[in-house]
């Protein structure tokens, strides 16, 4: 049934990859090339951030500090957090996969502002270089840079904040570009309710990027000025208020959690129907729940500050609103599961990662209410329970979604199929390693082990050994995954235009796509999820 769409196979050998030489990449205006550059850059940071995580786990093998000093440990967890958040999770899916696939998904030749797109990539790189420069006096504040400590420590806080300011600017420009692209460049017939759900997820993400990022930008600017000019914003000694810093910081950093997760949810919404061969259940509910999550996400930042002396009323309100985010999130999860119900499910690697996303994200989600509730929050605040919770949502959610997307779109991006056997082996290692590492952290967290300490009480020793073993399994899986993709890039089987027999527009161009995306701008007549039942566009 689903073969009623033309499947172009092969196409010309190299498509948008035809041109060679570094200049053809560095100065390209092609959204696909810019997307690939983002992907490669962010994957490097992912591996680097992972390296720091391994150093942390190594140190935690023993209750006493053994391999590194406590200061080195502080530096490592700061770098691990800052790199993973600012240089990998936030940009990887939106700027990497989003750049590549949004125009393809909506039938456009490029994003609305191709030059701006290239500029935002290079601003990102500049930001990264400034971050590197800050390593002369490495940061030891944690990725949140809380004042007053960050205003006083000997580390290069001003440099690092400026680097992150630049990365934020790049994020704003990308989000802006996507919003305008989605509004203005849709192909004829591509109505809002025919857009792939990945585009919906990215659209909601872009709104958050555009609205939240300026606030953290100016916050870091104020922090830098406080250090450089001795200004008094957050220093209590001068009448400033450190809690105001936390408000500003979380006004951005909580919504940005949804910048991390919404695109991944979009990917899962693409993968699940393709590998279940069923129309997605509740298309509109999934689409609008992305917007709802983006909106509610702006109202809950205070739940990071329950123990920071806010008024009891504010605490209660933030707690209530936090529970509220669960509703649109659950809507999505139920719809994915309903899509799976009685589908012809096959377990290729993209599907394995998408299902892993659902499994791990549910655990991450269900541990959220413990932290959203005021009384349990006081017990669990700043323990490993929190660490486990956000790794289940961010790594178990976002990173698994990213891996799903990487495998799903690998044939389109490269013209080669990912090696399936090794992909499954890597998946198994990642799945087991992840749960061994982070589920253990829930337990040790409930038992009271605080986070961010290089040393711990001997009674937590056993769990830490288990978590460290798990983390090395996880790392092995991740390395195997990237080795497999690297290998497939050279030796993988040639991919046809539509190897997964999917219905969205990107599969109607050759693999890899030509520079202008489509030989002719497609006329869209249906939604992309009509498996088995053509013409099922919801009203």
């Amino acid at each position: 049934m689903e073969n009623d769409r033309v499947t172009e196979s092969g196409g010309d050998e190299s498509g948008y990859l035809a041109e060679r030489g570094w200049r053809s990449w560095a100065f390209t205006l092609d959204h696909k090339r810019i997307g690939v550059m983002y992907l490669l850059t962010t994957i490097v940071f992912f591996l680097l951030g992972g390296l720091f995580a391994m150093l942390l786990r190594l140190e935690l093998l023993t209750p006493q500090t053994k391999y590194f000093s406590a200061h080195a440990y502080n530096v490592f967890f700061t770098l691990h957090g800052a790199m993973m958040i600012f240089l990998f999770i936030i940009p990887a899916i939106p700027s990497g996969l989003g750049n590549f696939f949004i125009p393809l998904h909506i039938g456009a030749r490029d994003v609305a502002f191709p030059r701006l797109n290239l500029a935002s990539y290079w601003v990102f790189v500049a930001g990264f270089l400034v971050v590197l420069a800050s390593l002369v006096a490495p940061m030891d504040t944690g990725w949140t840079f809380y004042t007053p400590y960050s205003a006083k420590t000997g580390a290069a806080v001003a440099t690092l904040s400026f680097g992150i300011f630049l990365i934020g600017m790049s994020s704003i420009l990308t989000g802006l570009n996507f919003i305008v692209t989605v509004h203005k460049l849709r192909a004829p017939g591509m109505t809002w309710h025919r857009m792939p759900l990945f585009v919906w997820g990215m659209y909601a993400t872009s709104i958050i990027q555009v609205v939240a990022t300026p606030v953290v930008g100016v916050t870091f600017l104020l922090l830098a000025m406080e250090r450089l000019l001795g200004m008094a914003f957050f220093d209590p000694a001068k009448g400033g208020d450190p809690v105001l810093f936390q408000h500003f910081f979380w006004f951005y950093s909580h919504p940005v959690v949804y910048v991390m997760i919404l695109p991944a949810m979009g990917i899962v919404s693409e993968v699940i129907p393709v590998f279940s061969r069923k129309p997605i259940f509740g298309y509109k509910a999934i689409a609008y729940s992305s917007l709802a999550i983006a909106f509610i996400g702006f109202l809950v930042w205070g739940h990071h500050m329950f123990t920071s002396a806010m008024s009891p009323l504010a605490n209660a309100i933030f707690s209530f609103l936090t529970f509220f985010v669960a509703v649109p999130t659950a809507v999505k999860v139920f719809n994915w599961i309903a899509t799976l119900y009685r589908g012809s499910i096959t377990f290729e690697s993209p599907m394995l990662y998408a299902l892993t996303f659902i499994f791990l994200f549910i655990i991450g989600g269900l541990t959220g209410p413990f932290l959203a509730a005021l009384s349990t929050n006081v017990q669990l605040h700043d323990t490993y329970f929190v660490v486990a919770h956000f790794h289940y949502t961010m790594m178990g959610g976002t990173v698994m979604g990213f891996f799903a997307g990487l495998h799903y779109w690998f044939p389109k991006m490269t013209g080669r199929m990912p090696g399936e056997k090794l992909a499954r082996a890597a998946w198994a290692l990642i799945f087991v390693g992840f749960n061994v590492t982070f589920f253990t952290m829930f337990i040790v967290g409930v038992r009271g082990m605080p986070r961010r300490y290089a040393e711990y009480l001997p009674k937590f020793h056993q769990e830490n050994v288990i978590a460290t073993i798990g983390s090395f399994l996880l790392a092995a899986g991740v390395l195997l995954l990237f080795w497999n993709l690297w290998h497939s890039l050279r030796k993988g089987a040639r991919a046809s235009g539509n190897p997964w027999r999917a219905l969205s527009l990107e599969w109607r161009t050759p693999s890899p796509p030509a520079t202008e995306n489509f030989h002719e701008i497609p006329e869209v007549t249906d939604w992309p999820y009509g498996y088995g039942k053509p013409k099922r566009t919801p009203a």
Binding site: V218, L222, A232, G240, D241
Partner: protein, 195 residues
Amino acid sequence: MSAPHAAHGGPAGFETAKLGVWTFLATEVLLFGALFTAYAVYRAEYPALFHAEHLKLDRILGLANTIVLITSSLTVVLGVDAIRKGKVRLLRGCYGATILLGAVFLCVKYVEWTAEFRHGAYPGTNIFFSLYFALTGLHGIHVLLGMGVLAYVVVLAGRGRLSESYTTPAEMSGLYWHFVDLVWIYLFPLLYLIG
């Protein structure tokens, strides 16, 4: 739904550019919004300090600068109107005048700042002056950026790239300049007048 498809690097259509600039202005509002929030929080916390310190600012120079900026918004409007009628030279003249007014604004600001430094009011003196220098400094940077954007349009017009059928760069830069002007309209009463 059939919107124009921008070719690689080609000029975006007017509507597309307009949506882009308005979205960008939204981010600018939020950038200043955080500072305005900080101002509100600290003013509520230290009303006496804010009252005492704001008297040290020079209202006459502040008022002068307000008049300068409002005038510059007028010249921008005249410039946009000129290019819509195809009068390229008039556009260049109006935008040149706007850039000049922007420069006057910055010079006055320089005089103000040096006077404040002389009287011992530095960015680190207290919360009021921290906010004052942060707000006016950030705004000053925006004036400078706006002048650069307008200068770019003047150059474009000089090369004959603008006409009544292609006014986008002139209109978009004008929009940005109005925003810069508008922020000052809020800053002036907040810092100089309300005690």
